[in-house]
Symmetry: C2
């Protein structure tokens, strides 16, 4: 929708509130904000760049009055179209709200604007012996507001939990411009309903999060990594279950299946794998240096078992960095395998992980499609990528059938449809498979209380009513 077809009066009101240079409608900008890292493409009618909480209040009031849909956006690094504009919507970019408002090391907290970059928060914290545990793959460039909206996580979630476990309080703006304040500055607090965690993971549908008070932890002094090769996914999953059945909690327990390893190798990584390797685990422990050594020793014991090909301990720092770069690059490397990647983010209880990978292999065979799996095995959270050539006749339909079967398998195994990527635009049709109708109706009712005119991120998270 171009400015000529957008409501000129609405844009004028926004320009008056934010300044003309903060309300962009030129085609190049609109194209830049027409998609995120998920599927879909739709030009917004404008991109707004507020410079603080009060400007977000002002723009939300205008949008509410004039029924202008607002799509909150951090770095646009999400995988599910959570920041995908809908027709006639304005994108609210938090790129100009990236201030660190307060860093109080003695209270182990940092108060930041929603546009602060996640890795920057962590970097600052480490300067004072602290750290910010959630570590999504996009941390070097993603913004905390997006992490909050999606309840982002990452490998360290196994030991430390996800974004929602590190938020003490929020400032936010509801869909009618009401300024909201939730939580507190302390690690305990039970006054009022927990709006903080209601907003975390609400994907921009309840309120625009403007500021967050984040909880920090003491940074571990050392980290150690094991690279463990197995003859196949079944052996690797059995090892994961053994790790989770003993007391040491690794700070990462990452799984890669044979297809994922092939993608890494095609991209030039992991060149020294023994040829018998058809699945791999990366296992990390952190803590005091001595303690890390003890933990890795004990973990090695339980990682040994049927199907083990090789354990490499005491990797050089450069080798660990290379492994993690390869692991982090997987999402991109997998894209090279086929024109379309249907990227899922399922979770099952640990005891069902082997059943899940076996089920995925069966689905790949039945639907004649390559499926690449890797992810945070210690949480039972796998990123499952169905590789599709949409121009090949019937392949897209097979992929859709395969996806439906995958979700049914996951739910039969007691799992959930998404562990960290969220629902966004991409998966909302499947939500009723998991959430009972009455509970879903209640969620919609809560949404109406925050956003009476439904202007916040319409067409996301919920199926069409």
């Amino acid at each position: 929708m171009s400015e000529s077809s957008a409501n000129t009066a609405t844009l004028s009101a926004l320009r008056a509130a934010l300044g003309a240079e903060r309300v962009l409608t030129d085609p190049a900008t609109l194209d830049l904000y027409a998609s995120d890292d998920g599927p879909g493409h739709c030009r917004p009618c404008a991109v707004l760049f507020p410079r603080g909480h009060d400007e977000v209040v002002a723009l939300a009031r205008i949008a509410h009055d004039r029924r202008l849909p607002l799509v909150a956006r951090g770095a646009g690094s999400g995988n599910v179209g959570g920041a995908l504009p809908t027709s006639g919507s304005a994108v609210v970019s938090f790129e100009c709200m990236q201030r660190i408002l307060e860093f109080a090391p003695a209270d182990r907290l940092m108060r930041v604007e929603a546009g602060a970059i996640t890795a920057e928060i962590d970097r600052l914290a480490r300067g004072r012996g602290l750290f910010y545990p959630p570590d999504p793959g996009s941390a070097p460039y993603c913004r905390i507001g997006g992490n909050l909206a999606m309840n982002a996580a990452g490998p360290r979630a196994l030991k430390y939990g996800g974004t929602r476990d590190y938020v003490l309080g929020l400032r936010a703006v509801a869909g009618d411009g009401r300024a909201l304040m939730s939580g507190c500055r302390t690690t305990k607090g039970v006054v009022g309903y927990d709006l903080t965690r209601l907003l975390v993971g609400s994907e921009g549908t309840l309120a625009l999060i403007t500021e967050a008070t984040l909880r920090l932890l003491p940074a571990p002094a050392a980290v150690g990594t094991l690279r463990v090769c197995y003859d196949g996914s079944a052996s690797a999953c059995d090892a994961v279950q053994r790790v989770m059945d003993q007391p040491i909690i690794p700070c990462a327990l990452e799984f890669m299946d044979a297809h994922a390893l092939a993608a890494i190798q095609r991209a030039g990584g992991a060149t020294d794998l023994p040829t018998a390797t058809h699945a791999m685990l990366m296992v990390e422990a952190d803590g005091e240096a001595e303690q890390v050594a003890d933990q890795l020793q004990a973990l090695q014991q339980v990682l040994r078992g049927p199907g083990l090909v090789e354990i490499k301990q005491a990797l050089a720092a450069e080798e660990v960095a290379r492994l993690w770069r390869a692991r982090r690059a997987l999402s991109g490397a997998v894209k090279a395998l086929a024109p379309l990647k249907i990227n899922e983010d399922i979770v099952v209880p640990i005891s069902r992980l082997a059943a899940l990978t076996a089920g995925i292999e069966a689905l790949a065979r039945r639907h004649e499609l390559p499926i690449v799996s890797f992810g945070h095995a210690g949480n039972g959270n796998l990123h499952v990528n169905i590789m599709v050539h949409p121009e090949t006749s019937g392949e897209l339909a097979r992929a859709q059938a395969c996806l439906q079967s995958l979700f049914e398998t996951v739910l039969e195994l007691g799992g959930t449809l998404s562990g960290e990527h969220g629902i966004g635009a991409a998966k909302r049709a499947y939500v009723p498979l998991e959430i009972p109708a009455e509970t879903l109706a209640l969620m919609r009712a809560i949404k109406r209380e925050f956003d009476p005119r439904g202007i916040l991120n319409p067409g996301k998270m919920f199926p069409d009513a």
Copy 2:
């Protein structure tokens, strides 16, 4: 309200649904359920004992249809009148719903009914090398439903977090009898709004929680305790801040001021304290045995400082148990000091703890009232008890003024009014001091969506509208 004045038709409908022996209205029973461990006394019109989720659905439908207020109750061990009946209300006791529905050690989870006893959950978990971290003082007899309703915590919250951090999912019944299901069986999950954490801490005002899926952790192999004596609260608080400014996270960091120590000693405990002791810390570390020894060593270093009187390490198990019994008995021991104890549960950021204890001492002097303080110093969470002789002219009024000043001090220091006890009936008048009016209005709106006729725990958590 007696049966004659209660609505006989309502009681008949409840008896038809639950069985006559599950709907008690005899005066002795009504008296037994007329109060919890907080202030206030009010006979309900009936006490209901459902035997499962479906019976809770049935009773809620009847109550909704007939506008019968329902007050959920676990063990009645709460401190703020959260389970205090209001006139004409029925108490829903979860005492007959204490089944362990499922224990899956490999998935580190336990699914329980709301009436399961907290310590029993922990005991079962430890039988398989796991544990349930939240440890309210009432754990030996309180019920998980009450812990969930109040977001209960305890000493271990410093290292492990509170109840809300160990709930994977809930079954619950809304105020109109709708059955709700939230969360999942996995440690990660982001599908839909986080109703789980919205219900946790909602004090029975949004829904009746019937079942919970709890997350368990590997049990630490060993625990070690330090008893650290200081010359006064200021020195002890400075030491707390030093502890929180280094990387080791103790699993308990408890503070007792001189009045609390006197109460313990009057009750026959802590008889061997050096006479110069006017404040004490109990510091615990857990983990592998060797690691505990290292941690206590390092903690001793930072606990030494100005005002230190004595550190006792390597206490015998019996001595540690005695100390904890004394600490746990404090709440009761303090009651013996005056006919009325106004029991608060405030929290401030760690960096303001010394300012808080100094402020409390100033308030005690100004209002001429003894104030006994102790609690979870590592979270900045103190239980502050204003001791009152209400029959002494003017003392109750002084206590009320003192309380108001205390809350103002806490909020000025960036704190919150309650860390773990909740609001209930006792503190609701003070909630607007902390929560802005617009946010409070939104909470009330959410309540209406769950409980359109306002029958769930009326007169709790919120000030009168």
